[in-house]
């Protein structure tokens, strides 16, 4: 292959930005179709909802800290867990991951923007409107308990509780419409990701040379089509039931409540992978850079990701073992669920092999990544426990399940998200986040996380069901719940430190430069923050680590392909 050399563009766009009136800045953000600005809006909007849903979690933990508590009423408690779950999945997890993807995918494949910039903006605003609609229910909806009531049917909203007769008023409709809109936005964004990754790669960026993050976003986006669409279809059916009097989930007219469960979990379980695959994506980029080694087993990582995508479509009914599906169905879903731990295990071993023998740098992103590896392993192990149908009969719908999936969502996904923030913040803002505050954040959050979610398994094993608003003394749940609630408070302090760090570093952080971590993917070849046009000239890549080739012309990766 030919040699590469560097060029620097003369950027004249920066001069325009100085000293504009605030209104014109706001107008620019509202009308923007730039993938970086849309990505940041996704992230900002998700962070706001993260704080809101975090407060809901804290309120529930205060209520459950001691037996016979009357901090909130049972009605409010039902609303809290419904809103907490719905918000965290649809208006925190999905948007924040789409936000990072929007920002990073075009930069990593050397593209000018996403394939459909206006569709991108549409998808963001329609999702944002969905989130607004969900919370507008607090003032706009009339529910079961007088005026002004949020949805209270649980985040999976089992039939027939959602029927008009059991959930009168409009609170359930706000839930349905919010999820419907978020679904349209998700499908639009996923479509954009696939078209961008397939059609917008720069010269030489073959599929086999794409950063693993881009591969994982390709798998995630493909999962969105086949997972989120069924939920959208089910929401249409539910709306028809509630407004036109059809009978999809109306058991009185021969309809089936179990059908809703199937439809929901056909979405619900792949959704877990839609959320966790981007977390894997961050790990794939961060762990090699801080181990100073190329990723171990690139083809195996790609194969494992695609494998997880496929297998995740055949495991949904492990959420329904307690329904009584019969021995054949149970056996199938037990095995399918266990099989998915094979590609997941391949990933964990590849990350370990990447770290092995590397020159490890324990900067904050790497610390969060190491914690992620350890916690994701434990989350996977309790997952295997719950995949065994008889064990699940014992512990289904208990706090053991709640502890298990929060171990995935917080211990794996949120930890990797924090790592991603510390890693890419310099690229996005041009300034480093404070390492001191970052380490405080890490240790506080780590301790808080383990206090909360390690000990949450215990009341589950002791028989405490999920979604109860309080419990009697003398069941030996009280002490454990107190520890869990204390851990939640410690996490909240860690989270506030993180937010403070985000704001403080924006003004006072050390100037980062193009490439503060000595990394290898294309986004680090642009200025920080990248200009609107991303790359002054279209880049050409000759290997998986284009910037390694640039920095080491004596020993480029392309020689080994």
């Amino acid at each position: 292959m030919s040699t590469t050399y560097g060029v620097e563009a003369i950027d004249e766009t920066l001069a325009i930005h100085a000293g504009r009136p605030p209104l014109s800045v706001v107008y620019e953000w509202i009308t923007t179709v730039d993938h970086k600005k849309i990505g940041l809006m996704y992230i900002g909007y998700a962070l706001i909802f993260l704080l809101v849903a975090g407060v809901e979690a804290l309120l529930m933990r205060i209520q459950l800290a001691v037996p016979n508590n009357h901090f909130v009423s049972p009605q409010v408690f039902n609303q809290l867990f419904t809103m907490h779950g719905t918000t965290m999945v649809f208006f925190v997890g999905m948007p924040i991951l789409f936000g990072f993807g929007n920002y990073l995918v075009p930069l990593m494949i050397g593209a000018r923007d996403m394939a459909f910039p206006r569709l991108n903006a549409f998808s963001f605003w329609i999702s944002a409107f969905g989130g607004f609609l969900l919370y507008f229910s607090y003032v706009g909806a009339s529910g079961l308990y007088a005026a002004g009531s949020a949805p209270d049917v649980g985040w999976f909203a089992y039939a027939p509780l959602t029927a008009k007769i059991f959930s009168p008023g409009h609170s359930t409709d706000y839930w349905t419409l919010a999820i419907f809109l978020s679904g349209i936005g998700s499908i639009g964004t996923a479509l954009n990701f696939v078209a961008t990754i397939v059609s917008m790669r720069c010269k030489g960026m073959k599929m086999s040379r794409m950063p693993l993050l881009v591969w994982l976003y390709l798998v995630t986006a493909s999962l969105v089509f086949v997972a989120v669409s069924p939920l959208t279809a089910a929401q249409i059916m539910l709306t028809l039931d509630r407004y036109l009097g059809s009978h999809f989930f109306d058991t009185q007219a021969g309809g089936s409540a179990v059908l809703w469960m199937h439809f929901f979990w056909i979405f619900g379980h792949p959704e877990v992978y839609i959320l966790v695959l981007p977390a894997f994506a961050f790990a794939n980029e961060i762990i090699p850079v801080f181990s100073r080694k190329a990723i171990f087993g690139y083809p195996a990582m790609v194969a494992a990701s695609v494998g997880i995508g496929f297998i995740s479509l055949s495991v949904w009914a492990h959420h329904m073992f307690t329904v009584g599906l019969g021995a054949t169905a149970n056996t199938f879903f037990v095995f399918a669920t266990m099989v998915i731990s094979v590609p997941t295990g391949i990933k964990i071993f590849n990350w370990l092999a990447t770290i092995w023998g590397g020159k490890i740098i324990f900067a904050t992103p790497m610390m969060f990544s190491v914690a992620f590896l350890f916690q994701f392993l434990i989350a996977g192990l309790t997952g295997i426990m719950l995949s065994v149908a008889p064990f699940d009969w014992q512990l289904g719908n208990s706090y053991f399940v709640v502890a298990h999936f929060h171990y995935v969502l917080v211990g794996a996904i949120l930890f990797m998200l924090f790592a991603a923030f510390y890693y890419w913040y310099p690229k996005i803002t041009g300034r480093m986040m404070s390492e001191t505050l970052g380490k405080w954040h890490f240790w506080l959050f780590l301790i808080g996380f383990h206090l909360t979610f390690d000990f949450m398994h215990v009341p589950g094993l002791l028989g405490m069901p999920r979604r109860i608003y309080t419990y009697e003394a003398g069941r030996e749940w009280g002490g454990w719940n107190m520890i869990v609630s204390i851990g939640a408070a410690v996490q909240a302090i860690g989270l506030l430190l993180f937010v403070y760090n985000l704001v403080h570093s924006y003004f006072k952080g050390k100037v980062a430069g193009h490439d503060p971590w000595d990394a290898w993917t294309l986004e680090w070849s642009t200025p920080s923050p990248p200009p609107a046009y991303n790359f002054a000239v279209e880049p050409t890549v000759n290997s998986r680590r284009p910037l390694w080739d640039l920095k080491h012309p004596d020993d480029p990766d392309s020689d080994y392909e």
């Binding site: 040699t3 397939v198 010269k203 030489g204 493909s222 089509f225 790359f535």
Partner: protein, 200 residues
């Protein structure tokens, strides 16, 4: 530690590099997502076959919509010819085929409307009547909604073609629209088999 402050480019710069058209990829993705939505409605339809607690049943009231089906499937052929004639630069043939597609699609829609009028007015079957009504109107209605969307887009193109605004370079874009229309027709084959053959 070395830091990058430059973009890697190819000095020789002449590596051949072609990628698929983004419109086609985007439409393929949309079709996958739509197919998943239709799958759920078809599953619900099949799951509830014969489970209605009261009549009327499909065997009593449904007749095979042969004429509408023939029209809709023929419109796939005309839209294909519209694309291929535009690619050859034959604008008049393209416009004529677009008009034919819109006409055939409208005839299909009218035949569905007639069928619904018959079912609601003469047979008293509504979406509230029983599980058959629920699943029938939602599945056929979902498909009809897609036909309407396709017809609106095709009519827009037809309008532009009549105004002389369509030319050869739009062939790729018209092909993306034709993909959607082919999908709508393919879905009808499934709906026809499930509702009028299997379900009766």
């Amino acid at each position: 530690m070395k830091t990058a402050n430059a973009i890697p480019i190819d000095e020789l710069g002449e590596t051949p590099w072609t990628l698929p058209y983004r419109g086609t990829v985007g439409m393929a993705c949309l079709i996958v997502a739509e197919a998943a939505i239709f799958t759920i409605f078809v599953v619900a339809y099949v799951f509830y076959i014969g489970k209605s607690l009261s009549g009327p049943t499909p065997a009593q009231v449904l007749e095979l919509p042969i004429f509408g089906t023939v029209c809709l499937l023929s419109s796939s052929i005309t839209v294909h010819f519209a694309v291929s004639s535009l690619r050859k630069g034959n604008l008049r043939l393209c416009t004529a085929n677009l008009a034919g597609t819109v006409l055939l699609g409208s005839i299909f829609l009218a035949s569905t409307a007639r069928e619904w009028y018959h079912l609601i007015h003469d047979e008293g079957l509504t979406i509230q009547t029983n599980l058959f009504g629920t699943t029938y109107y939602s599945l056929v209605g979902l498909h009809a909604t897609h036909v309407v969307v396709g017809l609106i887009m095709l009519s827009l193109v037809l309008g532009f073609a009549l105004a002389g605004r369509v030319n050869r370079e739009h062939a790729e874009k018209l092909e993306v629209l034709s993909l959607y229309w082919h999908f709508v027709d393919a879905v009808w084959v499934v709906v026809f088999m499930v509702v009028y053959v299997l379900g009766r």
